[in-house]
Subunit: 379 residues, 2 copies
């Protein structure tokens, strides 16, 4: 499968953003985060792990994007479709690109409003003091009104193919979990082994792994692994956001270690049933809350509980939430997770997760849906 | 080695921050990013990979920190030393913790100034629109004047031990590079293989890998790997930020593939010499720019070139820059990288990197310093 996207795809993304900017009266967009910048430019690097340098892309209401970036990124940005690349020697505590960026914004916006992604899931990736300096030189900033988030929520065929690739990689790694998980193996070794399997099956990298284990499930799904060994009869859950060419999968698997506990098996059946109910409800035109309700009905979740799935793509989680509070309409091209959870004992849970894409004629599976009884490994 | 830190260590960090806050007249600090929150609480999770929820910790001028966090994190935060943990059901687009946070800030600050890390390397990890809502309810925000950054720059013995552990892990993985790199192997497979070796040698996870290859080096050090195969005579460089218990190493190794090019060997010798010159200059009381100058003299770098090393710890890069512009004084407990680079041909470079900690009596090596001729693998 080809890495990256055609220049035509990036131009189409820019065209759609510019049409929305015109409707909103925005003279430019200022982008500062990894996924927003990558979405319009194709600039893909793990160097964002370093917090030391800010990166900027300006999307004018007309014309091509302008990159205002540290010189260390000039070579890589020069291999994207962008032609207007302006650099400074960063880090420079005295002026870390602020005057260069301010000049470019003045030139492009000419006093007009500059939209910044400011809604849910966003942040401004630059020092607050530097943002104040830009405001002080008279740049008029405002909210982008969710333009970028709405564009990113509907995936192209080439984006969907990359997510499908990540899902297939994780699916193959999960098939091999018996190689690394058995009674007596410490959870931190299980996590390491799982990450190794993901790499062997083709992941470029593994930004996210979570999991838990216990006789009836786990007390939370965000804790890191420790030295606690797996025990016979545990339910082990592993959840991953593995990446291929910058696109995530995000699904999990549960395994019974050695023997399956009947109560865990019953919870598992409920989770599978809920996932299928969510899948059936995930039709174009349905609302996020409808899909939530279909799953909540099966697992008996109340309105106050967390979400039972979310959007997925260039980030582990992005876009809509499958919750009672979210009435986003499902559109063809949206990629979402179905993630029902069930409480098996006081403060103990099991969760299950799969990935689908919404199509004009209904949902299409991206992850290899689990079925049948709770799988037993490590015997 | 024990994971985490003693409660006494967290309390000492809070005490130092509060003393600085008092001098500055700050009623509270508001922390929103992963490393800043982890530094004072011990809250360690890979769940930050999800951008969907903001997380907040308030450090009052007196008393204990207050966590204002999504309910999904309550169980894990409850296992830290924090006792005042306030939660909301997130994501909630209508009010994502803003009113809960505003109430807590009013209660703690009582009209006084709330400091936010706002200088180099920082950002505010919450939607800009929500920050505006907090300002609108009368919270008086200001810069933290680098309090948090300065505290984090000087590591405790337990922090240094964790960085040393990460360095040892990466050192063992580099020793095994001959298992995964030889002529004909695609760079993306080399990257995967290297990450697998890091996990096998004990890394919890591998947030950062970079590298490059070519007869005389590489055109940049931030590009992702592609299908290009290694060729006989290439210089292969791999650089990693691998993590153990939340602490990074950050160093690289160069290898000749099959045979060593004499010009690459000569550049390598210069890099080793520059690294040793940097090490010798890295004495307590010296300035960051002195260490830069010691290395720049050997590799012939001008003042306009980028930095030749940086601070290291909970993030891949943090704190000072070894550059002509940075006059930070080296203090015992600072962990830094020495990272000289040399241009071997027009637009082609080789870089070398090692990690040290500044001690009262001089630098101590944390990474296993490379020496001797350019190592040859893949024969």
């Amino acid at each position: 499968m080809m890495r990256g996207f055609s220049e035509a795809e990036y131009r189409a993304r820019v065209d759609r953003a510019q049409a929305a900017m015109e409707r909103l009266g925005l003279a430019a967009l200022l982008l500062t985060t990894e996924p927003d910048i990558r979405y319009f430019t194709g600039f893909l690097t793990r160097f964002w792990e370093s917090p030391s340098r800010p990166w900027f892309v300006i999307l004018p209401m007309a014309g091509e994007p302008i990159a205002v970036i540290p010189s260390i990124g000039a070579a890589l940005m020069g291999r994207t479709w962008l032609r207007d690349i302006r650099t400074w020697a960063a880090p420079n505590p005295a002026d870390d690109g602020v005057s260069l960026l301010g000049k470019a914004l003045h030139e492009v916006a000419r006093g007009g409003k500059v939209g910044i992604p400011s809604g849910p899931e966003t942040h401004l990736r630059m020092p607050l003091a530097d943002f104040g300096r830009l405001q002080a030189v008279g740049i008029d900033f405002g909210d982008d009104d969710g333009i970028v988030a709405r564009l990113r929520a509907v995936k192209s065929e080439d984006e969907i193919a990359k997510i499908a690739q990540s899902c297939a990689i994780a699916g193959r790694a999960f098939e091999r979990m018996g190689e690394v998980a058995r009674p007596g193996v410490a959870m931190e070794e299980v996590f390491r082994g799982f990450q190794r399997l993901l790499l062997e099956e083709g992941a470029d990298w593994v930004p996210y792994v979570a999991g838990g284990a216990g006789p009836l499930g786990y007390s939370d799904v965000i804790s890191p692994a420790d030295e606690t060994p797996l025990a016979e009869g545990d339910v082990l859950m592993l959840d991953t956001g593995a990446v291929w060419d910058g696109y995530f999968c995000d699904f999990d698997r549960n395994f019974a270690i050695g023997t399956a506990n009947p109560r865990a098996e019953a919870a598992w059946s409920h989770l599978i049933e809920a996932t299928l109910a969510g899948e059936a409800a995930a039709q174009p035109g349905a609302r996020a809350r409808d899909v939530w309700a279909a799953m909540a009905r099966v697992v008996g979740t109340g309105e106050t509980a967390g979400r039972l799935g979310h959007g997925l793509g260039m980030q582990l989680t992005e876009g809509l939430s499958l919750s009672a509070r979210d009435d986003t309409e499902l559109q063809p091209g949206m990629v979402i997770t179905l993630e029902p959870g069930i409480e098996t004992a006081e403060g103990v849970f099991m969760v299950h997760e799969e990935n689908i894409v919404i199509r004009a004629d209904g949902p299409q599976r991206l992850s290899p849906f689990a079925s049948g009884p709770l799988p037993v490994i490590g015997r």
